[in-house]
Every structure is written in C-alpha cells, then in structure tokens.
C-alpha cells in the first residue's frame, strides 16, 4: 500500500512553526490509532468544522482499513485489500488530515494544559495540543507449550490475515482455538476453502461472551450440520510440533488425544491496549475508563472504541453500569461522541449498539445489549431458516440475537431507539411481524 504522508514530513511540518523550547509547536489533535474509531473521529471532526491540524497515526504499514472482512471475504479471497481502505488519499489531503503509518507510540509527555509530545519507537516525535487514544486491543496470546511454533497464528490485523493466507496451501486440517465470533467466522471460511476444521472451545458453549444460551445452542447445531467438528469444554495440553520441529502438527488435549492440524488459529479474545493510558496515569479498569463524553479521568484525553470502558449507553440502563464494547458500530458512535466532546459540545451516545457476524450462510445480527436480562423469547422458523432470541429485563425488551432474520433485527433495533417495547407474550409467535406489535413506553 502506498505512502501518503510519511511520519517525517508530518513531524517536521508541525515543528517548522516551532515556538516551544524543544522545537515543537503543540498545536492540533494527535489521534493515536488509525483504527475504525480513529478514522471516524477525524472524519466527524472535519464534518463538524474542526479547523485545527489533525494527525492520524497508526503503527501498521497500511493505510487505514476495515477489519471485519479479514476473517471472511478477505481470507476467502473474494475481496481485494484495496477495497478495505476507508478513504482515498485525495479525501485525506482535501480534509487536511495527515496520515502517519508505521509509527508506534511508546511514551507520551504532557504539560498541565494537556498539550505534549508523543514519542515513537523509531525516535520520531509528534507534538500535540490534545491527544486521542484510539489504540484498540490486541489478540490475547495462547499460554500453552508450543504456542510459539510456526503455524500457530492469530487474526487481528491485515498482516495477520496476509500471513495466514500465505500458508494455507499446505494445510489440509486446521484447528481453531476459541468458539467466538472470530474463531467461528474463520473456521467457516477455512471450511469453505476445503479444509477439515476442528473448533476447540474451552467454555461450555459457543460465543458465550456475546449471546445467550439458546443462540449458542443454535450455532452449535448449525455449524455441526455444516461440517465443523466442534468440541466444547476442550482442555488443551500443548501444541505438538512436526517431527522435524519446523512447525505445528497438532493440538494435544488433556486426555492425550492429538487433533492433527497443519494450522492452528487462535481466537480467544482481545486485551485492550492500555499501556499509554497507564503511563499517563489515567484510570484503567478493563480498558480506559471514560465518562459519557468519551473523556478519560484526566479531563482532557479522549479514549474511544475497543479500548474504552464506557457507561452502558443503552437508554434506561442503570446508572453506574459499565461495559467495554468491541464492535464497528461502537467504534463509530463512540468516535462521534468524542468528536463532539473535542468541539466543546456535550452530546451523548446516540443509537443502539449493534453487532454482526457472518458465519457460512448464518447471518447473525444483534441489537442492543443483553446485560442484566432476566427472560428470553425464542422465535424459530426452521422452514425459512430464521431464528431469533429476544431478551427482556423487567418486562422490557433490551436486546435480540437474530439469525437470517433481518426483519426481527430491524424491528428490535428501531423499537429500542424509540424507547418502545415489544411485549414478550405476543412476540412468542414466530409468524407475528414484530414491528406490528411494538408498544409505546
């Protein structure tokens, strides 16, 4: 991918106006993390009329790109890397956003007024008046003997996906460790590409962190029907090396059996990148703790997206309830909140959190947050391949998991956005169209 503006020119152009003793004028906004949320913050700020300089800095050598396809269309080779790019170079130039690629910030120095200088591992320095952390999360590493073997891979960024694609030719059998979104999306992709795939999930059910038991059960059966070998409550002992020690050859389970695999893909969640926040002395607790306006505990740094621990944004959620969301939708909406904040406006999170995951022909759409649910309603139409679970808290709908059921998803998302309810008793009939039974208040 091509060079837009190199780090040296960005750092140099800022320093050229230098007035401060260290030669750096501390103007503009530095966005650390050229991620979905970093890109959205830059775009939203320009749309709102923010007229100061913006530097959008990322540690990868690619222009800012969309991640969701990496485990699906990109892995399967049905989309090109170019179509994952967020914005054209012309767009960034026209909007006076300096893109910096391949620079990893390791330390941030700051004055009492919030301005400062960010130091990259390369030695480059990036002065700023205000800083935003859109640094995301990294793949949680597998802590087992043999995890360092070649062929044990992760899938978080474009380089991971490229490396994975490059070694697929020699792979007949693959093991996917982790039955969450990434694991099941990648497992479905690999299966579609002709690999024999075994999914090893440590927990008692699939996608346990994001969906309820009924949806987990539905996906378990659906994936087994489609040819994935799924093992729940899997206890793994080690990665088994090939005889010549060159790369992984299988995964040994605690009972001594070995699941053969020339590729082991690990998808066991992510760890928020909080190191810079900690170094800055910000409150950190499962992510960077921010208020309703995306501002961290120092009152000036904004933190957005996967890395931020935010107040539950669902309308009517109990005061003090917090959550860290890992989703495109949250990265976008939270970045908008932060952009308003940087413009001095106190706007709150708009819209209803939603999520999607495409696994083989199973299109999962989730509206709302299930936090604190006390009952569910299952709507199932096997003839049409549709399945939904509606979640209720004190009789009010708070979320839905919908598989190949966009009408249900849309109805719940819209009802939540308008503060309406969908009564559980009427919703239980799968033939009922949900949007016809919404009630006010």
């Amino acid at each position: 991918m091509d060079a837009t503006k190199t780090s040296t020119t960005a750092a140099h152009s800022a320093a050229a106006d230098g007035t401060v003793a260290d030669g750096a004028v501390r103007t503009g906004l530095l966005i650390v993390g050229a991620s979905q949320s970093g890109v959205q913050m830059a775009v939203s700020l320009r749309a709102l009329g923010f007229d100061e300089h913006i530097t959008l800095l990322g540690e990868e050598d690619h222009r800012p790109y969309q991640r969701p396809a990496l485990s699906k269309e990109f892995l399967q080779g049905t989309v090109e890397s170019e179509s994952l790019i967020f914005r054209s170079n012309e767009y960034w130039d026209e909007h006076n956003v300096a893109l910096v690629k391949g620079e990893r910030i390791v330390r941030i120095e700051r004055e009492a007024d919030g301005s400062g200088v960010a130091h990259a591992a390369s030695g480059a320095r990036f002065p700023f008046k205000r800083v935003a952390l859109t640094v995301g999360a990294r793949a949680r590493k597998l802590d087992l003997p043999g995890a360092e073997l070649d062929g044990v891979v992760y899938l978080r960024n474009a380089d991971d996906a490229l490396a994975l694609k490059a070694q697929l030719d020699g792979v007949r059998e693959a093991v996917v460790i982790g039955g969450g979104f990434i694991g099941l999306e990648a497992a479905s992709s690999l299966h579609k590409m002709g690999k024999a795939v075994t999914v090893l999930e440590y927990g008692p059910r699939l996608i346990g962190r994001a969906v309820g038991e009924e949806t987990s059960e539905y996906f378990l059966n659906a994936h087994r029907d489609r040819g994935l070998d799924i093992r729940l409550d899997a206890r793994m002992k080690r990665m088994v090396p090939a005889e010549d020690g060159s790369r992984v050859a299988g995964v040994e389970l605690s009972d001594g059996t070995v699941v053969p695999a020339q590729l082991v893909l690990v998808g066991i969640g992510v760890v928020p990148n909080t190191e810079l926040a900690e170094q800055l002395g910000l409150d950190v607790d499962n992510g960077i703790v921010v208020d309703r306006h995306a501002v961290a505990s120092d009152g000036t740094t904004v933190a957005v997206g996967d890395v931020a621990n935010i107040p539950n944004p669902l309308p009517g959620a109990p005061e003090g309830e917090r959550i860290r969301l890992e989703s495109v939708n949250n990265a976008i909406e939270h970045a908008k909140v932060a952009a308003y904040s940087l413009m001095g406006r106190s706007e709150e999170y708009a819209g209803i959190p939603w999520f999607w995951s495409n696994q083989a022909d199973l299109k999962l759409q989730i509206a709302g947050l299930t936090l604190g649910y006390d009952s569910t309603v299952v709507r199932r139409d096997d003839e049409r391949g549709k399945f939904s679970v509606l979640y209720y808290r004190d009789g009010r709908i708070i979320a839905a998991d919908c598989v190949n059921a966009p009408l249900d998803f849309m109805a719940v998302k819209n009802a939540l956005a308008k503060g309406q309810n969908i009564p559980a008793d009427a919703a239980a009939d799968p033939a009922v169209v949900l949007k016809t039974i919404v009630t006010d208040g």
Binding site: P68, R87, V328, L407, M410, A411
Partner: protein
C-alpha cells in the same frame, strides 16, 4: 469510466467516477459522500447505505435478493419503490447511475 451521480437530500450533486466491480457504496464512502454511512462495510448487515435510484436507471440494476429486501424495511428513512442498498449495486464499464441519498441513515 463508470460514473455515479449522487444527489443529497438538499439537492447538492456530486459526480464520482468509480472503478469497475466496486459497489456504489464503496465508491461513495471512499470519496466521503456524506449521505452514505455503510457501517458494515458492505456485508448486508446494517441498512445504512440506502439510496433512491432514479426511475430510468432501475432496469440496469440486478434483481433484489430477499435479504436486501428485508433489510430495506429497517431503513431510517422509509423505503420507496426505487429504494436499494448501494452495497449491492456493482459498477460496470458503462454504468451511468443517478441516485439520491436519504436525509438520514442512522
């Protein structure tokens, strides 16, 4: 070059040359056409790339699949007979398409 003419809800027009094989949504987003949000990046999951297609251009478009049809019932601005999700519309060499973006997508 295929060309898409985007008119926003206020009547402002942007003419954008696209690449063969790209979707109308991708063409819009990459160039920062404000009326297209496209949160899901084209995987037919979000219904935030809704457009109204000029009537005389409808015939050159592919048939709508059931999923697109159902998603269109959830758009923020209600669907019309000429509504499509622009992630499902691919540009061909001779594409000359006129679309209007709705007032809101989310």
């Amino acid at each position: 070059m295929p060309t898409v003419h985007f008119t926003d809800a206020e009547g402002a027009v942007r003419d954008i040359e696209g690449n063969i094989g790209d979707s109308v949504m991708e063409t819009a987003v990459r160039n920062g056409v404000p009326g297209i949000v496209a949160e899901c990046g084209g995987s037919l999951s979000c219904a935030t790339c809704h457009v109204f297609v000029r009537e005389d251009c409808l015939d050159q478009l592919p048939e709508m699949e059931e999923m697109e049809d159902e998603m269109l019932y959830g758009t923020v601005v209600d669907r019309e007979d000429n509504s499509r999700l622009s992630c499902q519309l691919r540009l061909a060499e001779d594409t000359e398409l006129y679309v209007t973006t709705p007032e809101a997508q989310v």
